[in-house]
């Protein structure tokens, strides 16, 4: 048991190394879970996952790490869709090595000094049946569940994500019917995917953590694919903060009027409703090569929540301003900008001040996305100060790694003095957090 404990601790260390956050309390939970569940591989995997993995997006990392540590192949999702009783029936018929749980499987005892991997004796239907399911750290991957070499076995080996429901499904249905007819509910190897939503969650997590600095068009496309969930989350969050609150201060007049029904006893307190918050957004997004991906994604997220604000005006810039909008999911700017021009935020501020200053009021939050690199042209931080004076707040979101701030032609130090906050947003996750701060 000590060896198993060590193996679990090593598993936890590996997971932490892969940036899965696991607290000490969760490690203890994992130990208790193992003590309760026993040492059969299938239930052990699920028990450790339930105790250690609190984000479905981390599940793939867990499965891979578990397989490496405990020598099991990936979880058999096809098998996992059958209930325990059904599996028991199925395996009883097959006689091959399996993850079949034994009804009489003993529970692991925390104080037990038995060596790791001593599995309970199994039904002696085949010589190797006693061996493969015991837990032995670092052993070779165990063979998968088989049904006497039927065609469906080979499908189990293929990607569980395979949605090309090929001819084997017919056989599957057939064998399912046969099994049912034989009195059991067992079905042959299914080809169900491990989960549509789980796959999406994993994809979202990966792209959320990829730094904008590492983006190419491929990552950008992936980010846009994953953006729907993020946009929904942001919209809900913002609308909650901006919506009418349930109740505000006590309304004495209505409370006293209501108390007349109870002989003057103030039994029924009445409250004023709170006023909705009015917030205008003015977005300035740099779409020059260095930060274009971050800017486009930000504009798209904000566009999805535009109805939650009183007014949203979005501008993109390089060396001058252009109004931005989304048409059929694509960024459109009016007038078009020269994408090869050299960044000049000083002139952009001047243009904003001369032509659009009327848009700014005390209800306006100005959000700027850019790296503050001005090609050594005048920064015109004085204009930003004037804009900050007119507005509620100026937030500057920087997609550049923090180590590069104030280096080379960056004028961010001059701008920072005039901003309410300078917020790093190196990836999608940080961008979402930064945008929530707007409200």
């Amino acid at each position: 048991m000590i060896a198993l404990r060590d193996a679990i601790l090593e598993l936890i260390a590996d997971l932490r190394g892969a940036e899965v956050r696991i607290s000490v309390a969760e490690s203890l939970d994992a130990m208790r879970a193992v003590a309760a569940i026993g040492i059969e591989r299938g239930p052990l995997r699920e028990a450790l996952a339930a105790a250690l993995i609190k984000e479905e997006a981390d599940r793939a990392i867990f499965d891979e790490t578990f397989s490496r540590r405990f020598g099991s192949s990936r979880p058999d999702y096809s098998d996992s869709h059958r209930s325990r009783g059904e599996r028991a029936g199925l395996h009883g018929a097959s006689g091959g090595p399996s993850e079949s749980p034994m009804p009489d499987a003993p529970r692991a005892q925390p104080d037990e000094e038995a060596p790791v991997g001593l599995a309970p004796p199994r039904k002696p239907s085949s010589p190797e049946r006693d061996v493969p399911e015991r837990i032995t750290p670092n052993e070779e991957p165990a063979p998968k569940d088989r049904r006497d070499g039927s065609a469906s076995d080979t499908r189990d080996e293929s990607s569980p994500n395979d949605d090309s429901d090929s001819a084997a499904d017919e056989g599957q249905a057939g064998s399912a019917e046969e099994s049912s007819a034989a009195g059991g509910e067992a079905t042959a190897g299914e080809v169900d995917s491990p989960g549509i939503e789980a796959g999406r969650a994993a994809a979202l997590r990966t792209i959320e953590r990829t730094p904008f600095a590492n983006y190419s068009d491929i990552e950008f496309v992936a980010a846009r694919d994953a953006l729907a969930a993020l946009k929904r989350r942001f919209r809900i969050r913002v609308s909650r903060r901006m919506r009418l609150a349930g109740s505000g201060r006590i309304d004495f007049r209505r409370t006293i009027r209501a108390s007349l029904q109870h002989g003057g006893a103030l039994g029924d307190l009445r409250f004023r409703s709170r006023r909705p918050r009015h917030l205008d957004l003015l977005i300035l997004a740099d779409i020059s090569g260095s930060v274009k991906y971050a800017s486009t994604l930000m504009l798209e997220i904000v566009a999805g929540a535009a109805s939650c604000f009183r007014r949203v005006r979005s501008f993109v810039y390089i060396d001058r301003l252009a109004e931005a909008g989304f048409e059929e999911g694509h960024l459109a700017m009016t007038p078009p900008l020269d994408l090869y021009a050299r960044s000049d935020f000083g002139s952009v501020l001047k243009e904003l001040w001369n032509r659009h200053a009327a848009l700014i009021s005390r209800a306006t939050v100005i959000v700027i996305m850019g790296d503050g690199r001005n090609n050594r042209r005048p920064a015109r931080a004085d204009l930003l100060r004037e804009l900050a004076r007119l507005s509620r707040a100026v937030l500057w979101l920087i997609p550049e790694p923090q180590a590069r701030w104030n280096t080379g032609d960056s004028a961010i130090r001059q701008y920072a003095r005039e901003c309410s906050a300078l917020i790093p947003c190196e990836n999608l996750r940080e961008l979402e957090r930064a945008l929530i701060r707007v409200t």
């Binding site: 309760a36 339930a50 989350r233 809900i236």
Partner: protein
């Protein structure tokens, strides 16, 4: 009652909850370790049903707290029955009671309105507490839950600390409308319930809509699975699949072809843009090679 994983698996099966090892293990551990179980997943995947099935399994009461924005302690934990206290006060007015006597009286359990959390904690036997859609509640309420979920006790200033006689089996569900805090996640075992795969959904359909032809059930499950992959605004849930299956039975449809799918699409999809999107692909989905 001997709590084993087999007992849980059999119980879930008896309650007609078609499931997998992941769910069985998580439910068993939540009961064995007396830890709250946080279930996440898309809407309509059967998260709430787990709590109902666990209550059935334990043959006990299910106490449900439906979360919503603005939910506070008064609605979730307890509230003093203000009107009743006032009436009592008026009735006692002329008896010349001292304040100590009066307050002992007024702040007793008789005047306490127990809300779901307090009811679950003070129940004389083990109950199942379902905190449904915790992501809809405010972050402040989530923070308030932390003490309850770790120590199974709450403090009522006038009465003192109320500790659970029997720790309730707690199930929390979330549709991930917002991220839950790490503190809450840490206190719970985690389970993600995704939409079922084709084969599992076929078995659910066969179990719940026995009148549907087996081949048609397979085709329906396959169709719904393909729709879920289209990244719709609201992918069809299991309940909607079952409604669709019932609709097919009711309409006497024997073959799942393009016209019959188009005619019944409203049962599965509840947003016009989703419907338009799927309608354009129905032919492809219906004639998909098997």
């Amino acid at each position: 009652m001997d709590l084993t994983q087999e007992f849980v698996a059999d119980g879930l099966r008896r309650a007609h909850y078609i499931t997998n090892e992941r769910v069985e293990t998580a439910v068993f551990l939540a009961l064995a370790l007396e830890k709250p179980l946080l279930i996440e997943g898309p809407a309509g995947a059967g998260k709430t049903e787990v709590a109902k099935v666990v209550a059935e399994l334990l043959n006990t009461e299910l106490i449900r707290l439906q979360c919503y924005e603005g939910l506070d302690e008064a609605r979730a934990l307890y509230e003093w029955n203000y009107q009743k206290q006032l009436l009592r006060l008026q009735a006692d007015e002329h008896q010349g009671l001292r304040w100590e006597e009066l307050s002992d009286h007024l702040f007793s359990r008789e005047y306490l309105l127990e809300r779901p959390l307090l009811r679950a904690i003070s129940a004389p036997r083990k109950v199942v507490l379902l905190i449904d859609e915790i992501d809809k509640a405010d972050e402040e309420f989530e923070a308030f839950l932390l003490e309850l979920l770790s120590d199974f006790q709450v403090s009522v200033p006038e009465l003192g600390t109320v500790r659970a006689h029997e720790r309730p089996a707690v199930v929390l569900t979330s549709n991930r409308a917002r991220e839950l805090s790490d503190a809450l996640r840490r206190r719970c075992l985690h389970l993600f319930i995704d939409f079922p795969g084709i084969e599992q959904e076929r078995r659910i359909i066969e179990l719940k809509v026995p009148g549907l032809d087996q081949r048609l059930a397979s085709a329906a499950a396959r169709m719904v699975n393909a729709m879920r992959k289209l990244d719709l605004r609201k992918p069809p849930s299991i309940a909607e699949t079952l409604d669709w299956a019932r609709a097919l039975v009711r309409l006497g449809i024997k073959e799942l072809d393009t016209p019959s799918i188009r005619a019944t699409l409203g049962v599965l999809l509840k947003h016009e843009d989703d419907r338009v999107r799927v309608e354009g692909k129905v032919a492809g989905l219906a004639t998909r090679p098997r």
